[in-house]
């Protein structure tokens, strides 16, 4: 990823526009033939996809078992609610923490690996977590899942906001998404993010510049897993349950597909584009045929073959071709921005 315009800002114009557009979604989503819960799903998966892309797009680390941390967050949310206290803040913190701890544990074992070995290790650990989730029936409910997870109210001391309606939940999740996006944008363009990007481009060079590469790989994996766990916690709340399927290899594959189709390798927002396309395609194509995955799979192949930089990359390319004057202005603008 090249440094985009406004990288130095905490909140960018694009973020504001996106936030405003997303805030209007409950007003029109039913009119276009979709339904409010889809909006909730898109936002939760978007948090997950941005967290995943911190690892893949920024640090260049392929994790093909990332569903594990999403799932662990979902279980942590439910189990905390049942066994500790039904507090939204506590349950979400537990989801974040559980994802982070599981991620840190795995990162300890894989951070010295590179490339294909790294990828294989993430799959192996992902499968272990998935298997444990299925087999420990007493804790996770096995394949029956953890049911009756409640949508806890947002307790702000004086007022308490009920989230049982999909619209209320949508706005809560939108807030979480915006916070996660702002945080990740800053992280990606901080010194830490720059070092991660350097590691992606050349681990050897980064090490010879004095950076303890393993420690950075450990840190970024843990952060990504923690935030994935957080998204998993929201997901458990949204669907009132937690199942092991999100931890399976093919669900872990979905997040990779979403991020790559969307253009996570070239754009910060690419993963969000990918999530929207994936989930809308699931519902729209899924309404006509049960084999919607066949069509999405073909789209995935087409993207990888013809536009490996994904939808966001293609849009960036067209945008540049659109108007040569704009190109020159853009170059001048970016020069100004870089000082």
């Amino acid at each position: 990823m090249k440094t985009p315009p406004h990288a130095e800002k905490l909140i960018t114009p694009a973020m504001l526009v996106l936030g405003l557009v997303l805030a209007t979604v409950p007003l029109w989503i039913s009119r276009v033939g979709l339904y409010p819960y889809l909006g909730v799903e898109i936002l939760i998966w978007s948090i997950y996809a941005l967290a995943f892309n911190l690892l893949l797009g920024t640090a260049g680390l392929p994790s093909f078992g990332h569903g594990a941390y999403f799932g662990i967050g979902a279980y942590a949310f439910g189990l905390t609610q049942f066994n500790v206290a039904p507090s939204l803040w506590l349950c979400l913190a537990a989801a974040l923490l559980a994802g982070g701890i599981a991620g840190a544990l795995v990162a300890l074992f894989i951070s010295h690996r590179r490339g294909i070995y790294y990828a294989f290790m993430t799959i192996a650990f992902g499968q272990i977590f998935w298997f444990v989730a299925i087999k420990s029936h007493g804790i996770t409910g096995g394949e029956d899942g953890l049911l009756k997870i409640r949508r806890l109210p947002v307790d702000l001391g004086l007022v308490s906001i009920d989230l049982s309606s999909n619209t209320a939940l949508y706005y809560f999740v939108l807030l979480a998404f915006m916070l996660a996006a702002v945080g990740l944008w800053r992280l990606t363009h901080s010194p830490f993010g720059r070092v991660l990007s350097a590691i992606r481009q050349s681990e050897t060079r980064a090490a010879h510049l004095g950076y303890p590469v393993r420690l950075y790989k450990f840190a970024v994996f843990t952060i990504s897993a923690a935030l994935s766990g957080f998204a998993g916690g929201l997901f458990a709340m949204a669907q009132n349950s937690a199942f092991p399927d999100v931890m399976s290899l093919h669900y872990s594959g979905y997040i990779v597909m979403m991020v790559l189709v969307g253009g996570g390798m070239v754009s910060f927002w690419g993963p969000v584009v990918g999530v929207v396309v994936f989930l809308v395609a699931r519902d729209v194509i899924g309404a006509y045929t049960t084999s919607w995955m066949l069509w999405f799979g073909l789209l995935f192949i087409a993207v990888v073959l013809f536009k490996p930089e994904g939808i966001a990359g293609a849009v960036q390319g067209w945008w540049r071709q659109l108007d040569p004057r704009r190109l020159r202005e853009g170059a001048r603008l970016s020069q100004v921005l870089r000082g």
């Binding site: 830490f192 720059r194 060079r205 510049l209």
Partner: protein
């Protein structure tokens, strides 16, 4: 005391002996050249000095302190910078970003995720000063992969210089450069010499003999000759090799 010292270094890969009893010391401000035929073990020796390869025997010392077997990032943090024979720039970064990330003060804040790296005046002015030194002041905003070859070579040195090293290890810095590029590089190295110690692997003997204070000739993993350029001109091996043809 020598800034960087290697004592009795042996390296084996399996049953192949790559380096045998190499000893070597770089004095402050000295430029020390390493020459020898392909496969002599020059790059492996560099890898030992910079922590990429752990020697099977022997010791590496930085200002008297034993650093043998330390990982490369620790050795780099102690002031040993290197460039690579095959260029390894951060291709997607601009020249400025490449240099910024090499600054020790950037490294000190490497785990800082709360502020933006872009637009940090401190990093930027330090990095621009280094770029100016290698003649890339005008090209700070260009993405590394779009720079012409000579500029990429210069950037490679800028990245090493940005680390403010005590010893600069250059692995064939002239490789692929035309005569203009070589001349530019020779001027730069002559200017740096004295401020810091430089170790250079080099095939271009004219270049090396013009700049180095001392030269070690490595052959079959051993140092077969060492001395000032004037002394080495008398050496039989050197005379038999390329230098004879150059003169």
């Amino acid at each position: 005391m020598a800034v960087l010292e290697a004592c009795d270094i042996h390296v084996r890969f399996g049953d192949r002996v790559v380096l045998e009893e190499i000893s070597f010391a770089v004095e402050p401000g000295e430029m020390h050249g390493i020459m020898g035929p392909n496969g002599a073990g020059k790059t492996t020796f560099f890898n030992v000095l910079t922590g990429r390869v752990k020697p099977s025997r022997g010791e590496v010392r930085i200002e008297g302190e034993d650093v043998t077997g330390l990982p490369s990032h620790r050795i780099a943090a102690r002031g040993i910078a290197r460039s690579f024979q095959i260029m390894t720039l951060f291709d997607e970064f601009t020249a400025l970003e490449n240099v910024e990330v090499a600054l020790p003060e950037f490294r000190a804040r490497g785990f800082d995720g709360r502020r933006a790296a872009v637009g940090d005046r401190g990093f930027e002015s330090a990095a621009r000063a280094v770029l100016a030194e290698v003649g890339l002041a005008e090209k700070a905003g260009i993405v590394a992969k779009d720079l012409p070859y000579g500029d990429r070579r210069a950037l490679e040195i800028a990245v090493a210089l940005a680390q403010r090293p005590r010893v600069l290890c250059l692995d064939e810095p002239t490789s692929g450069l035309g005569s203009d590029g070589r001349a530019r590089l020779a001027i730069l190295i002559a200017r740096l010499k004295g401020r810091l110690s430089i170790v250079t692997i080099e095939h271009d003997m004219e270049f090396l003999f013009g700049l180095a204070d001392r030269i070690s000739v490595v052959h079959w993993g051993q140092v077969i000759a060492r001395g000032t350029p004037a002394e080495l001109r008398q050496n039989a091996w050197v005379q038999r090799s390329n230098l004879g043809r150059l003169q």
